[in-house]
C-alpha cells in the first residue's frame, strides 16, 4: 500500500474521530427528543475550555505532568460542554423555548466565546502570537509503545492518540446502553413519545436533562480532540470547528441515530473529505468541491431512508417537540 493511501486513511480516521464525538453526543441528545443544533458551539466550548485549562496549568508549571495535563483538560472540556447542554436544557425543557432557535443561538454563542478567548490566549502566550500546549498535546497524541512500529498494521491501527479508541469504545457502549438496558429503553421512549413514557412512570424531564447534558459533554470531546490532537494543541480562529460541528449533525442523520453506524460513517466522511489528496492535478477550487462530498452523501442517505420509509430508521418521533404533561 502506498504511503499516500496510508496517509489518506490515517487522516480519515483522525478527521472522523472529531465528528464521531460530535455525532455520538448528538445521538444521545436526540434520543431524548431534543434536537440540539448547538453542536458546533458545544464543540467550540469543549475545545477552548480544554485548551485554556491545560494552558494555565502548563504556563504556571515549568515541568508539567502529562497525566495532570490530560485530566484537567479532559474534565474542563467535558464540563464546559455539559454546561452548554445544561443551558440548552434549561431553555428548551424547563422554559420550553423553541429548540431550533436555542440550538442555533448556542452555536453562535459557543463560537463567539471560543474565538474571543482563543484570541486572548494567543496574546497571552506571547512569542509569535500562537498558543501551544506542547505537553498536553503530546499526552493526547501518545501512542502505545511498540504497537505503532508494527509496519503497515501499526501505521493503520495503532498510530493514534487514545481518544480515537475511546470514541469507538464509547460508540459500542452507547449502542449496548440504548438497545439492551432498561434505562436505555426508557430514554428512547422519552424521545419517541414523552406522553407514553410519562404515563409509564418515567421521569421525562430528568431523562431529557441527563441525556442532553451528557450528550453535550460527549460532543464537546470532539472539540477537545480537534484542538489537542488534530491541530496539535494550538488554536485556529478559522471556523473549522463550526464546519466540523455541522458535519457531525449530518452524520447523526447518516448514521440513522445508531452509534454503531457513526463509527464507520465518520471514517467514511473523513475519507470523502480528504480523498482529494490522492487525486492528482487538482486546483484549489476543485478541492473545495471535493470537500462537499460528505454533505452530498448525507443528502443521498436522507433521500434513500425517506423513500424506504422503514420506521426504525426515522428520527425519534418527538424530536424537536417540547413536552408539557397537562397540555391538551
Amino acid at each position: 500500500m502506498s504511503d499516500q493511501i496510508i496517509r489518506l486513511l490515517q487522516s480519515s480516521i483522525c478527521f472522523g474521530t472529531v465528528i464521531m464525538y460530535g455525532a455520538m453526543g448528538e445521538i444521545l441528545t436526540e434520543k431524548s427528543g431534543n434536537l440540539n443544533l448547538g453542536v458546533p458551539g458545544i464543540m467550540y466550548l469543549g475545545g477552548i475550555s480544554g485548551l485554556a485549562a491545560s494552558f494555565f496549568y502548563e504556563f504556571n508549571n515549568p515541568d508539567p505532568s502529562r497525566l495532570v495535563c490530560l485530566v484537567i483538560s479532559f474534565l474542563a472540556a467535558f464540563g464546559a460542554a455539559a454546561l452548554g447542554g445544561l443551558l440548552y436544557s434549561f431553555l428548551t425543557i424547563t422554559l420550553r423555548a423553541n429548540q431550533n432557535v436555542t440550538g442555533l443561538t448556542l452555536t453562535i454563542f459557543g463560537g463567539g466565546v471560543a474565538n474571543f478567548f482563543g484570541g486572548a490566549l494567543n496574546t497571552m502566550a506571547g512569542g509569535v502570537g500562537q498558543i501551544s500546549v506542547a505537553a498536553t498535546s503530546a499526552a493526547y497524541r501518545a501512542t502505545i509503545p511498540g504497537l505503532s512500529g508494527l509496519g503497515l498494521v501499526g501505521k493503520l491501527f495503532f498510530s493514534y492518540g487514545f481518544m480515537v479508541y475511546l470514541a469507538i469504545v464509547l460508540a459500542v457502549v452507547m449502542h449496548w446502553y440504548l438497545s439492551r438496558t432498561r434505562t436505555g429503553l426508557n430514554l428512547r421512549a422519552v424521545g419517541e413519545n414523552p406522553a407514553t413514557a410519562d404515563a409509564a412512570g418515567i421521569n421525562v424531564t430528568r431523562n431529557k436533562y441527563l441525556a442532553t447534558c451528557l450528550g453535550a459533554g460527549i460532543s464537546g470531546l470532539g472539540g477537545l480532540y480537534y484542538t489537542m490532537d488534530y491541530i496539535k494543541g494550538t488554536w485556529g480562529s478559522d471556523g473549522t470547528i463550526e464546519s466540523l460541528g455541522w458535519l457531525a449533525v449530518a452524520l447523526v442523520i447518516f448514521a440513522m441515530w445508531r452509534p454503531i453506524n457513526a463509527i464507520w460513517g465518520s471514517y467514511l466522511f473523513g475519507l470523502l473529505f480528504w480523498v482529494y489528496l490522492v487525486i492528482p492535478g487538482l486546483a484549489r477550487k476543485d478541492i473545495e468541491l471535493f470537500k462537499m462530498l460528505p454533505y452530498l452523501v448525507t443528502i443521498a442517505v436522507l433521500i434513500v431512508i425517506s423513500l424506504r420509509k422503514k420506521r426504525e430508521n426515522q428520527p425519534p418521533a418527538s424530536l424537536g417537540l417540547p413536552y408539557f404533561r397537562e397540555d391538551r
Binding site: 439492551r180 438496558t181 432498561r182 421512549a189 407514553t196 413514557a197
Partner: protein, 525 residues
C-alpha cells in the same frame, strides 16, 4: 367494610385556568365491580380519571385507596396504588414491540430480559383470555391489538384497579364482545374497573353500577339493573330528552353522486380502494360501515379531490335541478353530470360537495388548533369579499351561531380550539361544514367521542340536511346508529364494497359479517 371500596375520592376539584373541569366530585369504586362513568362531553370524566392515574394533579382532593389516604402526584404513584389507566389515545411507542412497551418504565431487578417478559405476558394473556404476540411491533398492530397491549401493560404492573377510557370507540362489535368477556374475567378475579363510554347499550350490557357527571359535578349513581338508557340520559343531560332518531323517507330522491370503479393506491402502492362503485342520492343518508382503515378515509378524500385516483375511476356529480330547494347556491355545472376527479379541492368545494372528516386526533383535518372559532370559520370564507382586508364580521357571526345552536362550551370565540374538549372541537368542525349549505355532505366519524346528547343534535342536523334534498354520506363506527340513522348502508371491507344493504331491514349481525367478509385477503395483501 373498608375492603369493599377500592377507591374513595372525596371533594375533588380541578381547574384549568378559568375552566372548572371537576367541581367537588366524590366517587367510590368498589372491588369486583364494573363501574360505568357517564357524562356529556366536557363533563370532566376523563379529567377525573386522569387524576387517579397521576396525569393531572387535582387542586383539592382526598383520595383513599383501600381505605388508606394517598397522594397521587405522578403515574408512578398511581402504579404504586395499583391503579392502571387505559387511555383513549393509546400511550404506546410505535417502533417498540409489545413486550418493550409493556416493561417500559418498570424498575425490576436485574438486566432487561425480554424473553422472561414475554413468558409473563403469555401467562397473563392465558389467564384472562387475550391473544397477543409479544414480539410484534406496535406499528404493525390493529387498534384492538394495541388496546390489548395497553390492558396487559397495566396488568403486568399488578394493577387491580383498571380505568378504561372509551375502550370500545374504535372496536368492531365482535372485538367489543371479546373485550367485555375479558372484563368479566377480570371482575371475577376481584379487580375493580371503571369504564368511560358514551354507548348506553354497552353501559347496560357490561357494568354493575353507573355514576353520572354533568358539567364537572357529580350527579349520582345507580345500579345498572335499576335503570334504563332513557333514565341515564335524563340524568346526564339534566332534563328529559328523546332518544329516537326521526327517519323520514324523502319521496323525491335525485341521483347526486355516482362513483364508478374508483381505485386508489396509498403512497406505498397498496390498493386502498379497489373498484368501488355506488350511487348517492339527494334526500338520503348513505351510511358507510367498515372496520377502521378499510378505505373510508381514502373514499371521502378522493371524492373531495384530496387524493388522486387510478385511471379508469369516475366520480360523476349531478347538480340539483332548478326546482329543488338547494339549487343555485353554488357554481353551476353541466346538467348531464360532471366528472369530479381531476378537479382541485377548492373547485369541488365550490360546486357544493363538502366534507367534514373527524380523524382520531380530532384536530388533524379541517381545524387549526391554535386558532379560535372565528378564525377557523374564516378558513372557508376568506376568499369571499372584495378588497385586500379580511371580513371578520360574518365569520364571527357564523361562529356565534354554531356556538349557540350546537351549544359549544368555550370561554370565548377566540379561545384556541385546541383547548376545547374533544366533543366541542367536533361541533365546531361539523357545524362549519353544514353552514356551507352543500348539496353533498360527507361526514366521517362526526360523532366520534361525542356524548349522547350532542350526537343526537348532529344526527338531527344531518337528517334536516337530508330533508332539504342534500345527499348525505355518513361514515360511522357505531352500527346501532348507522342502522337507525341511514337509509342505505354501504359496507367497505379491505377497500372493496362487500355489500349495500337497506338500513331499515338489515340487522347488526349482517352488517358485522359484511365488515369482515374479505378480511383475510386484505391482511395478506
Amino acid at each position: 367494610m373498608e375492603n369493599t371500596y377500592a377507591i374513595q375520592m372525596k371533594h375533588v376539584t380541578k381547574r384549568f385556568g378559568k375552566v372548572v373541569a371537576n367541581d367537588d366530585v366524590s366517587l367510590d369504586i368498589k372491588r369486583g365491580e364494573i363501574l360505568s362513568l357517564l357524562g356529556e362531553n366536557g363533563s370532566g370524566k376523563t379529567t377525573l380519571m386522569n387524576m387517579l392515574a397521576g396525569i393531572y394533579f387535582p387542586d383539592e382532593v382526598e383520595i383513599l385507596v383501600n381505605g388508606t389516604p394517598v397522594t397521587i402526584a405522578s403515574p408512578k404513584d398511581a402504579f404504586a396504588c395499583g391503579i392502571g389507566m387505559i387511555h383513549q389515545h393509546f400511550k404506546l411507542v410505535d417502533i417498540f414491540t409489545a413486550a418493550e412497551n409493556i416493561v417500559l418504565g418498570l424498575h425490576e431487578e436485574g438486566k432487561l430480559d425480554l424473553k422472561a417478559v414475554s413468558a409473563r405476558i403469555t401467562d397473563i394473556c392465558q389467564r384472562y383470555g387475550f391473544v397477543i404476540d409479544p414480539n410484534k411491533k406496535v406499528y404493525n398492530m390493529s387498534v384492538s391489538e394495541k388496546q390489548t397491549v395497553e390492558i396487559v401493560k397495566v396488568l403486568y404492573r399488578g394493577a387491580d384497579i383498571l380505568i378504561l377510557d372509551e375502550p370500545t370507540a374504535v372496536l368492531t362489535p365482535q372485538e367489543t364482545d371479546r373485550l367485555f368477556d375479558v372484563m368479566r374475567n377480570m371482575k371475577a378475579d376481584g379487580k375493580a374497573m371503571v369504564i368511560i363510554t358514551h354507548k348506553l347499550n354497552e353501559v347496560m350490557e357490561v357494568s354493575d353500577r353507573v355514576a353520572v357527571l354533568r358539567k364537572g359535578r357529580y350527579i349520582g349513581d345507580v345500579a345498572t339493573a335499576d335503570t334504563n338508557p332513557q333514565k341515564l340520559t335524563d340524568m346526564m343531560v339534566g332534563h328529559a330528552v328523546t332518544l329516537n332518531i326521526d327517519r323520514p323517507l324523502v319521496e323525491k330522491r335525485h341521483l347526486r353522486l355516482e362513483v364508478r370503479d374508483l381505485t386508489v393506491r396509498t403512497g406505498e402502492g397498496v390498493k386502498a380502494l379497489d373498484g368501488v362503485s355506488f350511487q348517492a342520492f339527494g334526500g338520503e343518508i348513505l351510511g358507510i360501515a367498515g372496520i377502521s382503515g378499510s378505505g373510508q378515509k381514502e373514499l371521502l378524500e378522493s371524492i373531495a379531490g384530496l387524493r388522486a385516483a387510478e385511471p379508469g375511476s369516475h366520480v360523476i356529480y349531478h347538480p340539483p335541478a332548478p326546482d329543488e330547494p338547494i339549487a343555485g347556491q353554488h357554481v353551476p355545472v353541466d346538467r348531464a353530470g360532471e366528472e369530479l376527479l381531476g378537479k382541485t379541492p377548492r373547485q369541488i368545494h365550490s360546486i357544493g360537495v363538502s366534507m367534514a372528516f373527524v380523524p382520531e386526533d380530532r384536530l388533524g383535518m379541517g381545524l387549526v388548533g391554535t386558532m379560535g372559532m372565528t378564525d377557523n370559520m374564516m378558513l372557508k370564507t376568506y376568499r369571499s369579499g372584495a378588497g385586500p382586508l379580511l371580513d371578520r364580521k360574518s365569520p364571527r357571526e357564523l361562529a356565534q351561531r354554531v356556538k349557540d345552536e350546537l351549544d359549544v362550551l368555550t370561554p370565548s370565540l377566540n379561545t384556541p380550539v385546541r383547548r376545547l374538549s374533544g366533543g366541542n372541537v367536533q361541533k365546531v368542525l361539523v357545524g362549519r361544514e353544514i353552514a356551507q349549505e352543500p348539496s353533498v355532505l360527507m361526514t366521517a366519524y362526526a360523532v366520534r367521542g361525542l356524548d349522547i346528547n350532542t350526537s343526537y343534535t348532529i344526527y338531527n342536523l344531518l337528517t334536516a340536511e337530508k330533508c332539504k334534498g342534500v345527499a348525505v354520506i355518513y361514515v360511522g363506527e357505531d352500527l346501532d346508529v348507522l342502522l337507525e340513522l341511514c337509509d342505505r348502508i354501504l359496507v367497505l371491507c379491505g377497500g372493496q364494497v362487500s355489500g349495500v344493504v337497506d338500513a331499515r331491514t338489515t340487522t347488526k349481525e349482517e352488517v358485522g359479517l359484511l365488515m369482515t367478509k374479505f378480511r383475510k385477503e386484505a391482511s395478506q395483501a
